[in-house]
């Protein structure tokens, strides 16, 4: 299963490092990353493969939430299909 992780917030040092260290610990493979500044807001979108993850979706989501609070950004993980169904026919 592939999921999309979105990080939105104020830019600062260590956001990508913080998020990717959790993903590495959980055995989640990063397939693609794109990062932009939209209207002064740091926005990172990451496509990940969670099929070999050593924790379940809910736990992973919880860990990312905690990291987001620590970094002062909002972190969200969602199944890839929500975006595919909305934006691709």
């Amino acid at each position: 299963m592939r999921a999309v992780i979105t990080v939105i917030g104020k830019d600062k040092v260590g956001i990508i490092a913080g998020i990717s260290s959790i993903l590495a610990d959980c055995g989640v493979n990063i397939l693609d990353i794109s990062q932009t500044i939209m209207q002064d807001i740091f926005t990172m979108v990451m496509l990940v493969d969670i099929s070999k993850s050593c924790v379940n979706f809910h736990l992973l989501s919880g860990k990312l939430d905690e990291k987001g609070v620590e970094l002062g950004v909002s972190v969200r993980i969602q199944h890839e299909d929500i975006f595919n169904s909305m934006h691709r026919i």
Binding site: V4, T43, R76, Q78, D81, I82, F83, H87
Partner: protein, 452 residues
């Protein structure tokens, strides 16, 4: 890969524009739960509902978490109870409503619909018993919703039922007077009721439906309004296109959730209901969409045209996004559940007569309208008759969910709480319709050709 812009657009629709899946409703047939002994019948009903729906809430919550889309309600609809209870010899069906309520509490859903009767052509003994049980049933239960179909395009309007429902609504309001007549918020009178509606209070599992089915209702007035903000001043072709595109995206989400829920619950997927259902939350209003089109206030001249365009574009956009579309499918205009409608009523822009006109071009009908407590049963019946006529002549579903709030007068505000919101008490026509309603009988089915 999906672009960051698209990802952010989706997240923004959910977070800032109140886009959500309004309901996953599991329809369960209770046709095999009849029995001469009411106690055995109710035991079968309870067991069947709990067995089929025990995982509904959990599956809904899992999908919500994994896809990051809020699913506001998980609900159950069942076969109209008048059909199921009719074989037993009990004099009223209040205990059946209590059983439904108990089952709904046990599985954690927030409403159960189907304390219903279909009497558009006439009553059976069971229909009479059910209708007479409605006021007590709605007083004694919290989660049970009731509906009665009194008219259809093929059979006309059962005016005896219309007359009776006026009295039933009054009695329901009186029995739940301490909660502002709340019982009436759980009671819908229909013309041309649909069998696969996932929305409350009017959901029931029709007799042509399968054993068990998943129907999903989408929502998102806020997302449509925000999309229209970007095309300020553009012509109606662009307005319609913008609504269609947004409706398409919203419905795709509903389709995804419906397929996923039906897979996880091992239950057949029924339909996606393409509706714009407002909530009392600011920014989640159908009235604001109409105002965004250029009306100073919802209810101003032009409102009916604006609503017709909105309703049509939502359907055109949504139909392509789902493999099966059904239910009520259209924009809802429940006054107490829509911040913009409430405001329009308070400012004097929106009246019951204008709402009636609006129901000719949109989904359902006079919905969640509070009227003075001293409104007569005959006047309520006459309002139902008018709405039914609009439904049967125009070949569409219409409904009345009206609350004659005991002790309240025009301009007072009544609180229903939660999704049911709060609303100002609206004025009704003061002249009597009593002799008209007293005639009884049936208004014949309307002619379907020579249409003008």
């Amino acid at each position: 890969m999906i672009t960051p812009f698209e990802v952010i657009e989706t997240i923004k629709m959910i977070q800032e524009e109140n886009l959500d899946i309004r309901t996953i409703t599991m329809g369960i047939s209770l046709r095999d739960c009849s029995h001469l002994d009411g106690n055995i019948s109710r035991k079968k009903i309870y067991e069947k509902i709990v067995r089929n729906a025990e995982n509904l809430v959990k599956v809904g919550e899992d999908i919500e978490k994994e896809y990051g889309i809020p699913i506001k309600n998980k609900r159950i609809s069942v076969t109209p109870i008048s059909l199921v209870a009719e074989s037993c010899d009990e004099e009223n069906y209040i205990k059946y409503a209590e059983t439904l309520d108990k089952a709904a509490h046990a599985i954690g859903v927030n409403f159960i619909g189907g304390f219903s009767a279909l009497v558009h052509k006439g009553f059976t003994k069971g229909d009479h018993k059910l209708i007479n049980s409605i006021p007590e049933a709605l007083k004694n239960t919290k989660l049970v919703c009731s509906s009665v179909n009194v008219a259809s395009t093929k059979s006309g309007i059962n005016m005896d039922a219309v007359e009776e429902m006026g009295r039933i609504i009054k009695k329901t309001a009186e029995l739940t007077a301490d909660a502002g007549g709340l019982g009436c918020a759980k009671l819908v009178v229909f013309a041309n009721a649909v069998e696969d509606n996932p929305f409350m209070a009017g959901a029931f599992h029709g007799i042509g439906e399968p054993e068990c089915v998943i129907n999903v209702g989408v929502s998102g007035p806020g997302a449509v309004k925000c999309a229209l903000e970007k095309v300020k001043g553009c012509d109606f072709g662009i307005v319609a296109d913008t609504i269609k595109k947004t409706a398409f995206k919203i419905t795709r989400m509903g389709q995804l959730v419906a397929i996923e829920a039906s897979k996880r619950l091992c239950v057949q997927f029924g339909i996606v209901d393409l509706s714009l259902a407002p909530t009392p939350a600011v920014g989640d209003s159908v009235a604001y969409i109409l105002e965004e089109m250029g009306l100073e206030k919802c209810g101003a001249h032009g409102t009916t045209a604006a609503l017709a365009l909105l309703n049509d574009a939502v359907k055109k956009g949504g139909v392509m996004a789902s493999s099966y579309v059904g239910g009520l499918s259209g924009a809802f205009i429940p006054v107490s559940e829509d911040a913009g409608m409430i405001d329009a009523v308070i400012k004097g822009a929106l009246t019951i007569e204008k709402l009636e006109a609006m129901t000719c071009v949109c989904s359902v009908g006079l919905d969640m309208i509070a009227v003075p407590g001293d409104t007569s049963a005959e006047t309520i019946s006459a309002i139902i008759a008018d709405e039914s006529a609009i439904g049967i002549v125009n070949n569409k579903t219409t409904a009345v969910r009206i609350i004659p709030v005991p002790g309240k007068h025009v301009g007072d505000i009544v609180q229903f709480g939660g999704l049911l919101g709060s609303g100002p008490v609206m004025a009704v026509n003061k002249f009597s319709s009593a002799d008209f309603i007293r005639r009884g009988g049936r208004i014949p089915a309307p002619i379907q050709s020579l249409r003008n």
